[in-house]
Point group: C2
Chain length 219, copies 2
């Protein structure tokens, strides 16, 4: 792997582990066994690394959010139930966010410091909203919930999607970084539960079953 690539990988790891602000450019160089000067040859400082890192993340997440549940894929069959499809979709999104969780630990800060990140996050926010809307439309197709309620539901889901990782970090100090995604999906979907029609119970059963299956599989 080229040095430029490695810098991005190592920087992301350090940011996630130690918090963005605790990592100096020289720390990254040190962790890679290269000199600070060399690092500055590839990126003109930590800022440039941030921009590059975020642009990769943005591209990847836009790709995921852009095709929510619409097309079948390798993993998702068109015949699968909306619950399964939603479950899978949310899992994939949260896992991607977990890879770049340092971003969500310091969202306001980074958005404030970097206009690019600010614009990017707002764009991602809109996409999150849209994705949740189509997800809900599919999941609650024959629900009689009022539009206002659905609005607030979408809002809750988009917000949960954004802050689930930091929220868990602050409530459970333990590092259950693998179950955290599945717990998040359950939390997200359980918000939809009360609005579902008759399949309500079967939904919840399916959810819980999948949840336990995954948690067990991890351990």
């Amino acid at each position: 792997m080229k040095t430029r690539e490695r810098i991005l990988v190592v920087a992301r790891e350090l940011f996630n582990e130690q918090g963005e602000h605790n990592v100096a450019a020289s720390d990254i160089a040190l962790a890679m066994d290269i000199s600070p000067g060399n690092l500055y040859y590839h990126f003109k400082g930590k800022d440039a690394i941030h921009i590059a890192l975020f642009s990769v993340f943005q591209r990847e997440l836009v790709g995921l959010l852009g095709t929510p549940l619409t097309q079948p894929s390798l993993f998702i069959d068109d015949e699968d139930s909306p619950v399964i499809r939603s479950w899978f979709f949310l899992t994939v999104v949260l896992e991607k966010m977990l890879e770049y969780r340092y971003l969500y630990d310091n969202l306001s800060d980074l958005m404030h410091r970097f206009p690019e990140i600010d614009r990017g996050c707002r764009r991602l926010g809109h996409l999150k909203f849209a994705a949740c809307e189509t997800l809900i439309a599919e999941l609650l197709a024959n629900s009689n919930a009022s539009p206002e309620r659905l609005d607030s539901l979408v809002n809750t889901m988009a917000m949960t999607l954004t802050f689930w990782l930091p929220w868990n970090q602050m409530t459970h100090n333990a590092d259950q970084s693998d179950v955290i995604v599945h717990k998040g999906v359950l939390q997200l979907l359980s918000n939809c539960a009360p609005y579902m029609g008759d399949e309500q119970h079967s939904f919840y059963a399916e959810c819980e079953a999948l949840y336990r299956e995954m948690v067990v599989a991890v351990r």
Copy 2:
């Protein structure tokens, strides 16, 4: 007002306006027209200011969260409906948080840097949970929602309470800092709506009525 007091007030304002990390100790001194040396006479650096500021906030918020809806007060009558009481309670809590919103913009960061803030926020988190639980117990007294659902509802509410301010800041760049509290209360209560019994509609009506009333009153 004594200098020591003024430092805390000005620091809080600057933190809220410009973000905690963008404010140096010398900035605070500058904004107050005192010398950096003088500031250091009162507080041994920015860290000490943070600790002092947080301890005030913690004391205040613990006071609010500690007596959720239980005792009648100047503003809350024992005969008032649970909806009104919940509404008022959430408003007061969110308004206090708004006064110290810089905290919630950089939660992970500050918790990471200051063990005191870390411990305090976890404690506040528990109190938030407990408060939401009693609120829900009162609000959904005769609901038949399953315990799992109620758990996830409490979780959603506590999380919303924690991240509502930063979430709004990142979605709506406009500074509608006065309505933000009322919008938050509506968002919080609308999560409970589907679990309410027959009074569901009357609840929503009451909520919306109050909401509009308050928004209009502000403008």
